[in-house]
Amino acid sequence: MELAFIIEKFALILVIFVISLTIAAYSTLAERKIAGFLQDRVGPNRAGPGGMFQPLADGLKMFFKEEIIPTESSTALFILGPSLALFTSFLGSAVIPWGQDVEIAGRMVSLQITDINVGMLYIFGVVSLGVYGIMIGGWASNNKFSLMGAVRAASQNISYEIPMGLSIIALLMSTNTLSMKEIAEQQHGINWNIFYQPLGFLIFLVCSFAETNRTPFDLPECETELVGGYHTEYSGFKMGAYMFAEYLNMFLASAVMSTLYFGGYNYPGMDWVNEMAGSVIGPFIGMGVLILKIFAFIFLFMWVRWTVPRFRYDQLMNLGWKILIPLAIANIVITGIVITIFEKL
């Protein structure tokens, strides 16, 4: 392995790390702002112009708060919980293709940290690991509300991973690859997967709301009935880590949905733009487009949160097992039939 390769990858990792941190931090502000706007309020506006430095203030507050570790809890697991949640939510962005290859000093630099050929499975693995953070934290707190939140999180994530995986299988049948880079490349221009898999996208969207524990599926942390769910006993920075992990997960889910169904860095007229802007600027414009799509999805997440009330637990399970899974299977069958017909023609 040459030195330039290592430097290039480290630079990319650093950049994406910083970008996801910033976006997650500012998501907290965006959430409060959007909540305000949707409710005819203005949201936080005191820290800096228009509340610009609110995430900074929130972060500082989290750091300086007293950290309480309950005496009856198992300390090691209590610390492991939020660390794991934060850790796993960072891992997923490694396989997201952020743009086309860039030519820098005669080298083709890929704007993707690693292009593993099972990229989609990798994301699934990482996302399902995320529930361990919640599980361990809720168990270690030694509190009935935390435990109930954790149990809910576990069953919810397992239930919704099945339709999510099934909706991906239908996508797989039409793209014939698991590599995120190839999936992104196939959607050149406006040839996006959403036009081939509208039902699959809908199922995937609903499942990502459930996987990221966002309203209307935020049963693991519902304030009204479980005090605070799995993070009832958490305070200070550990609480912050859980919150941050949630926003990072939202960012990752948005990135995955944009890449799988909405063309990733592709946009109509991109060939013309690439010709005009050159092979260095062009891919970065594509990266900007991808980030815009991610913002749009994050807005959707927040918009839904401040519109739709929380599901009841049995309704959640009904939706997952009785509606989404049969729908996803039907989607697979329909996709299979359509593909076969088109191949025969």
């Binding site: 706007f37 005819d40 309020r41 839904v304 519109t307």
Partner: protein, 168 residues
């Protein structure tokens, strides 16, 4: 049983049709409604900079009034303290000395007049009890503070500003 009024209306509860059971149309409807609210006029009043107008019968902080010549109206009769249901008012009366006629209207005045703002419930009974029209709850909101003792407001905070003298 005979209904007491004919206003009872039996609502028909039909089972949901397919479109309603899909949930999604209803969710989109709701989302359109919330989206419209993004562009509506914001209701927020930026409090410390701007204040909402109080209504006519608003009862805020007390003020001890002066008469037209700038003399304190209060004669320390104690009716306000007596009428106070929260027992927030205490006072110590004193006799007016020679040469103090410009300060106090009656022969007796309140040397100490204290209202405990933590006890006060702003009912306005003191205002009604006062025979001399000396106390009115026409002030602003009582501000927050850190110590309990700072909520006991004495004459320094309650008495109205003295009138500007004519000869100035």
């Amino acid at each position: 049983m005979e209904p007491l009024s004919n206003r009872k209306k039996v609502l028909e509860q039909k089972p949901m049709n397919f479109w309603e059971r899909l949930y999604l149309p209803a969710i989109f409807q709701g989302m359109i409604i919330t989206f419209r609210h993004m562009f509506k006029k914001k209701e927020t009043v930026f409090y410390p900079e701007f204040q909402r107008e109080f209504s006519e019968n608003w009862r805020g902080m007390h003020s001890l009034k002066r008469d037209e010549e700038g003399r304190e109206r209060c004669t320390a009769c104690g009716l306000c303290a007596l009428s106070c249901p929260a027992e927030a008012i205490t006072m110590i009366a004193a006799e007016r000395q020679k040469g103090e006629e410009a300060l106090y209207r009656e022969e007796k005045y309140a040397a100490v007049y204290e209202i405990n703002m933590l006890r006060c419930i702003f009912c306005g009974l003191c205002e009604e009890a006062c025979p001399k029209e000396a106390i009115y709850l026409d002030g602003p909101i009582v501000p927050a503070d850190y110590l309990r003792k700072d909520f006991i407001y004495g004459k320094d905070k309650l008495v109205e500003e003295p009138l500007k003298l004519q000869q100035d």
